[in-house]
């Protein structure tokens, strides 16, 4: 692992000297990385999963379970947020020294909101894949139809020209 400030490029280019004559004399490209890897001194992981709220030490306000009703929970979290903002305004007027707990609760609600929205992303990714596949199937069917039509057209023209030549 190079630790110089401006390291030279890796010297693997020498191995590909005879690549044009013999493609097998050069090494294969390295296989894809699995697990965790280090890049520019930082650790990255190939398995991108959203860490649950408990792992980040944040209390989860919406019910856990296999299928969460996202719309309902988002709306109820929104209402909770508005109520807490009003509570904060009240506390600032009446008992200004107790603001900290209210601010904590508001930030908790925001964290829950963002976590809920982030957990919608895998669903969105799958829906995008479905949409792309449907578009691709439609385009391929269109292409098949076009080719069939053109072939039939060509056959017809050939027969016609055959008839014309024969008639001559």
């Amino acid at each position: 692992m190079a630790t110089a400030t401006y390291p030279p490029p890796p010297p693997y280019y020498r191995l590909y000297k005879n690549y044009l004559e013999d493609p097998k004399s050069a090494p294969e490209p390295p296989p894809p990385v699995e697990g965790t890897y280090v890049c520019f001194g930082a650790n990255y992981t190939t398995d991108d999963v959203l860490p649950s709220l408990e792992e980040q030490g944040v209390r989860q306000l919406y019910p856990k379970g296999p299928n969460v009703d996202y719309k309902k929970e988002l709306r109820s979290l929104n209402r909770e947020l508005q109520l807490h903002i009003l509570e904060l305004a009240d506390v600032l007027v009446q008992r200004p020294s107790q603001y900290a707990r209210r601010v904590e609760e508001i930030s908790l609600i925001f964290k829950n909101l963002h976590h809920l929205l982030n957990s919608l992303r895998p669903h969105q990714a799958r829906a995008t894949i479905i949409h792309i596949l449907e578009l691709q199937i439609q385009r391929r069917k269109q292409a098949v139809e076009d080719i069939k039509r053109r072939r039939e057209e060509a056959q017809r023209l050939l027969k016609e020209s055959l008839g014309t030549l024969d008639g001559q």
Binding site: Y70, L74, N78, L117, A127, K141, V144, A154
Partner: protein
């Protein structure tokens, strides 16, 4: 921008409206008498006081509007499919159909290319015959 990003932006907007509201009101509030022991605070010019009385109304209206906008965006979420398994099943089905249509396309393409070669061959022969039959002047 896609709907989830819009929702995230809206959450951040609500947050910034909230802390701007509290920050502005705390910074600009005129002094108020806390107890009869303290003297009356110096009065503030009437124009500033009038402007300042408008601020809470405007800011809270903006906050409520942002919250309503968030609800509208939530209502627009296209969460049609019920569950991850249903989506994965649909993806598998679509992949199978895509493969079969792809093979059909491949077959048609090969047949079309073969016919193209034949036509080109015929055209070459016809052109050669034409050249051979044409007598030089």
């Amino acid at each position: 921008m896609d709907i989830i990003s819009q929702l995230q932006e809206q959450v951040n907007t609500i947050a910034s409206l909230a802390f701007n509201t509290f920050g502005t009101l705390q910074r600009d509030a005129p002094p108020v008498r806390l107890s009869p022991n303290y003297p009356e605070p110096p009065a503030v010019p009437a124009e500033d006081a009038a402007n300042f009385a408008e601020q809470p109304k405007l800011m809270s209206a903006a906050l409520v509007k942002a919250a309503k906008q968030f609800d509208a965006l939530v209502a627009a979420l296209p969460l049609s499919e019920g569950g991850e398994e249903a989506q994965l099943k649909r993806i598998a089905e679509l992949q199978a159909e895509n493969d079969s249509v792809g093979q059909e396309l491949q077959k048609q393409l090969e047949a079309a290319e073969k016919e193209l070669k034949q036509v080109q061959e015929l055209f070459n022969q016809a052109a050669d015959n034409c050249l051979n039959l044409k007598k030089p002047d």
